[in-house]
Amino acid sequence: MSITIPPYLQKGDTIGIVAPAGFMPIEKIQTCIETLDGWGYNVQAGVTTHSKSQNYFSGTDEERLSDLQQMLDDRNIKAILCARGGYGVSRIIDGINFKKFMKHPKWIIGFSDITVLHCHIYSNYKIASMHASMAAAFNDGEFNNPYILSLKDALEGKPAHYECAPHAFNKIGEAKAQIVGGNLSLLAHLIGTDSDIKTKNKILFLEDVGEYLYNVDRLLLQLKRSGKLKKLAGLIIGGFTDVKDTERPFGKSVYDIIYEQLAGYKYPICFGFPVSHEKENFALKIGARYKLSVADNVSVLQEI
């Protein structure tokens, strides 16, 4: 399946920032704006980044939808960076009009709840999008770390070459395929909907945060039982951080749980890849082709 890669960014291009899900005060987006500015881009902060909302969301559904819609439709805007995830894209996704976006694709940047947008766009419009850090990751002096810089490189069109340390649970091998994936809970939540992704012959990556151990087990079983794991080209397990346990302990670590669920699959599997809710979060272009090489001494994910 061929995929459209939106144009990479040139100096002087404009990046829009929206908050399509949870609320975020503009102060927390400031470093991100300054950094993008420093990279040579103009930044246009949408109304949802200045929201007066008193509840969970960065505005009503209508406000969030219209802010995102405007950014999608505005041809001056070459990329849209989502300020944060949280929860909320599922509430507006079916209201978005992708007509102009399809004609003039642009990069959509974010992760976590933004997985809904990525999957929806990939499944329905075959347009690549960017799974990468959002505004909060720029704060606390982190705006220059390799993970933030991987976003800079990705936007400029520099092919990615990421390495990660070997892990005892890895399955050695090599795969060349399109990459898809994101937040495990959301990938499961989308199963059976219009935004569901097909994973056959793809490299799939997964990450999650704050889930109960039993629920990680259940989510993986859902992927498995809906046929999403059996014909992968390769699998990348990112960070599963801040996991929670029940009063009656589950008795396994989160990677043990995942490893156990993957027994029997022959494709290469890379554990501990830097894609996560922590700062270790390399930019990945969903829909783009990568080579995953899992070897004894190192795992490499390289854009091809």
Binding site: Y87, S90, D94, G192, T193, L221, Q222
Partner: protein, 342 residues
């Protein structure tokens, strides 16, 4: 359209032609879902108790054991009762074997799951249903047991009982609250084949109307986790009930979007919202919508009745419901009733 009349004339021309309205007849046609009812229980029949998910001690099931024996049933305790593998009532193999034995044993007329928790989904694909299909029996439970209900409904069209489990029987029948006793007795009523009738306290947010259909449902989170799998719930033309506990409002909202976006709401006959023990929002993260608002905005373009506060869920007023059995739901300003019909 006068459907009867249309069908009458259609049969004469249908051969060799395409039937342009077929689709509209598929939707909501109850006749297509023929659910088998396992035989109801008689005095002296045997009920098995097994733990397909979380663990339970011998001591914890004593009240259920006593009460069900008093009802005139023999109780057969599975090997998993009193077993523990961390959070589970034994390893996957132990839980699977115990349940399998009970499904296969022709002497057992019903299987009560000891408790929920988590774990049924880890074994459901390895269960051999061949004998159960030939000789269906009542599978009883809720919460995590929604996996078994939905799997059985979807694959074998066999009715089952959504109800409290052994861990909800009051330790002392004499000091138990009336609602505890009533709900436990509803299990006996369901098992012995009494026609069920329930009423709920009217909630002004409910959408009035009347509907008839086969009742299916269960724990909302569990239903979402079955989406796309062989155990996925089929809701077209049915009355769907959902309940959940310990979830944030945002998570409940997301789950109702999942129901909507997977097409599980659009062809319902009715929606029954049971108990939702909502986890309070974290400070500064107030969701800003009530449960009722969350539900109603997902179904405002549909006409079917909706009732809130139905007595089903992780709560004391959790009555036994026969899933896979036809019911009539009536929602008016003054009363809400759910009645089993033939």
């Amino acid at each position: 359209m006068d459907r009867k009349h249309f069908l009458g004339t259609a049969t004469t021309v249908i051969a060799g032609t395409t039937f342009p309205f077929k689709k509209s007849f598929d939707i909501g046609a109850d006749e297509e879902f023929v659910f088998k009812k396992p035989p109801y229980l008689k005095n002296g029949d045997s009920i098995g108790i097994t733990a397909p998910a979380g663990f339970i001690t011998q001591e914890e099931i004593q009240p259920a054991l006593q009460v069900m024996q008093n009802w005139g049933y023999k109780i057969q305790l599975g090997d998993t009762i009193g077993k523990r593998d961390f959070t589970f009532g034994g390893t996957d193999e132990e839980r699977l074997n115990d349940l399998q034995k009970m499904l296969d044993d022709p002497k057992l007329k019903a299987i009560m799951c000891a408790r929920g928790g988590y774990g049924s989904i880890r074994i459901v694909d390895r269960i051999n249903w061949a004998r159960f299909k030939l000789n269906p029996k009542w599978v009883i439970g809720f919460s995590d047991i929604t996996v078994l209900h939905s799997h059985i409904h979807n694959n074998f069209q066999v009715a089952s009982i959504h109800s409290k489990m052994t861990n909800s029987f009051p330790f002392d029948w004499n000091t138990a609250e009336p609602i505890q006793i009533e709900t436990i007795i509803s299990i006996s009523d369901a098992l012995s084949g009494k026609k069920m009738k329930y009423s709920a306290v009217p909630n002004p947010a409910s959408k009035q109307g009347v509907a008839e259909g086969i009742l299916v449902g269960g724990n909302l989170k569990t239903i979402e986790s079955l989406s796309g799998s062989a155990s996925d719930i089929k809701t077209d033309g049915k009355i769907l009930f959902v309940e959940d506990t310990g979830e944030y409002l945002y998570s409940i909202d997301r789950m109702f979007w999942n129901l909507r976006r997977t097409g599980k709401l659009k062809n319902l006959k009715a929606l029954i919202v049971g108990g939702f023990k909502v986890k309070p929002d974290d400070p500064g993260e107030e969701f800003g919508k009530t449960l009722e608002e969350i539900v109603l905005e997902k179904i405002n373009d549909f006409k079917f009745p909706v009732c809130f506060d139905f007595p089903v869920g992780h709560q004391k007023n959790n009555f036994a419901l026969k899933c896979g059995v036809k019911h009539r739901l009536l929602v008016t300003e003054k009363e809400v009733t759910l009645t089993e019909i033939i």
